[in-house]
């Protein structure tokens, strides 16, 4: 099993619903977030192109955060989801330094926090909160090993890219372009 997410940059309008849904679902402290939206403008006026990307932890296959963690608090759970065990985390910041996507943040309670792909929902057969609320249905979540999963179907006949592939982390967020 390999959980992954496909984000349709052609459909995303940057409304921020995914950000709010995540903050509500996961009780993210005020002023912090586990997912965010990047507005990327390329070119010179009048020939401009615009891309919205809903970003979060890439749940990398080769995750530098798990490698750098001195206590094993950062670990890979079933389906390749990268998780942090709060009572094993010492808050040293090594994983934050090691992430090319800056996807982690220090929770005010001391431990490091990040996107969990809403594992508590996924275990019940539900979609992550961000996927559930997206009004343009631009987020697709599922198991890459299952050819009929939503994410596999989304990737099948679209062009896609991953962020900073040169970092060698094998990220599992696929941006449909």
């Amino acid at each position: 099993m390999r959980y992954a997410m496909a984000i349709d940059t052609k459909k995303c309008v940057g409304c921020g619903d995914c950000v709010v849904a995540c903050q509500t679902e996961n009780n993210v402290p005020h002023g912090y977030c586990r997912d965010w939206i990047v507005e990327s403008v390329d070119g010179t006026y009048p020939s401009l192109s615009l891309e919205f990307r809903s970003e979060r932890c890439n749940h990398c296959d080769n995750s530098p955060c798990v490698r750098c963690c001195p206590t094993g608090a950062s670990h890979i759970a079933e389906g390749g989801i990268v998780l942090v065990t709060p009572h094993e985390c010492i808050g040293c910041g090594a994983c934050i330094e090691s992430c090319p996507y800056d996807a982690r943040y220090p929770h005010p309670e001391g431990y490091v926090d990040k996107c969990t792909f809403c594992i508590h929902r996924v275990e019940k057969g539900q979609n992550p909160a961000c996927v559930e609320v997206c009004p343009t249905q631009c987020l697709h979540f599922g198991d890459l090993d299952d050819p009929n999963s939503e994410v596999s179907l989304a990737l099948k006949d679209r062009k896609w890219k991953v962020l900073a592939p040169e970092a060698g982390t094998k990220p599992q967020l696929y941006f449909l372009t």
């Binding site: 940057g14 409304c15 921020g16 950000v19 002023g31 912090y32 977030c33 997912d35 965010w36 939206i37 990047v38 507005e39 990327s40 403008v41 390329d42 070119g43 010179t44 919205f52 530098p64 490698r67 750098c68 963690c69 001195p70 206590t71 094993g72 608090a73 709060p86 009572h87 094993e88 985390c89 010492i90 808050g91 040293c92 910041g93 090594a94 934050i96 330094e97 090691s98 992430c99 090319p100 800056d102 943040y105 220090p106 309670e109 001391g110 431990y111 490091v112 962020l163 900073a164 040169e166 970092a167 060698g168």
Partner: protein, 313 residues
């Protein structure tokens, strides 16, 4: 032209607009760790060479600084932790892939050992000293019998500690300025140089200082050589590497690095040490103070600048 901004979320303190998770505690620790590694290395080295009599400050007196530096450094590290009460989790596991785990275990060994090293010389340093308890006297005698074996253990631990202060940073592939294997040897050499500077400052023996100054000149030369190679590597590298180097070649860290670290912290003290070896009178404290200042600055600059560098996407 490409412009990216956060349309929603992020702007998290100490992460945006650029990463600044590690503050003064980490560079201070890297400095103190390197300094302690240097002192312990040379103390062990001269014991192994059988030069205890000729190098009394190196082998005995200066080693008092090592446990003090290590304890202060550990204090800084603990201060930096954000989930402090869970620090003991470091010692429930050994994770070979994590440099920080290596460091935690090395410190666990070298800190008490450095204290034992000082204790084993108490009888020489303070004539008439007695441990009062028979068991301690027996340990003292055993250590003095096995002095060279103890020195070898400390020598190896000191090298691991010195290299680790650099590898800690170089293991982060997400920060292009740090992600170079030269950082390990560079921090090792720089740490040894600051260790030598401390011993030189403490030594009252002219002959001993001469030996140390000669050694230090070699280490400074190697350090300069490694710095040149560091930048050659960056300039020949990918875009993220050249971006990182640009912070030092015209960017915001140009003056703090080339003037304070390289000129004032390496070249100037090297010139002063050479003049002293040729017979000119130079205040004893001046070259060591410059070297220690340069070593501290070097770590502050590297930690701060490294966190700014990142992959571009």
């Amino acid at each position: 032209m490409k412009e990216e901004l956060f349309a929603s979320g992020r702007n998290i303190p100490n992460i945006d607009p650029y990463l600044n998770i590690w503050h003064w505690q980490i560079p201070l620790y890297l400095f103190l760790g390197g300094l302690a590694a240097g002192i312990i290395f040379f103390a062990s080295y001269f014991v192994i060479r059988g030069k205890e009599k000729e190098m009394p400050t190196t082998v005995m007196w200066a080693t008092i600084i090592a446990p003090i530096a290590l304890v202060l450094g550990l204090g800084a590290l603990f201060w930096d932790l954000k989930h402090k009460l869970y620090f003991w989790q470091l010692y429930t596991t050994i994770r070979l892939s994590s440099p920080m785990s290596w460091g935690a275990w090395t410190l666990m060994a070298i800190t008490p050992f450095s204290l034992i090293w000082v204790a084993s010389y108490m009888k020489v340093m303070i004539p008439g000293w007695s441990w009062k308890i028979k068991l301690l006297e027996n340990y003292d005698a055993l250590l003095n019998r096995q002095r060279k074996f103890f020195a070898w253990v400390m020598l190896i631990l000191a090298i691991i500690l010195g290299v680790y202060t650099g590898i800690l940073l170089s293991a982060f592939n997400a920060r292009p300025l740090w992600n170079t294997s030269i950082l390990g040897p560079l921090f090792l050499v720089s740490g040894f140089s600051t260790g030598l500077a401390t011993i030189m400052w403490m030594s009252k023996n002219k002959k001993e200082r001469k030996v140390l100054a000669r050694l230090d000149l070699i280490f400074i030369a190697v350090e300069l050589f490694l710095i040149v190679h560091l930048f050659m590597g960056f300039m020949a590298g990918t875009e993220v590497s050249t971006e990182a180097a640009r912070l030092f070649l015209g960017g915001e860290f140009t003056v703090s690095f080339w003037v304070f670290v390289v000129l004032l912290g390496l070249i100037f003290p090297a010139v002063l040490e050479s003049l002293e070896l040729w017979g000119y009178h130079i205040p004893v404290w001046l070259p060591p103070v410059l070297i220690l200042f340069g070593g501290l600055m070097f770590r502050f600059v590297m930690v701060e600048a490294g966190q700014i560098t990142r992959f571009l996407y």
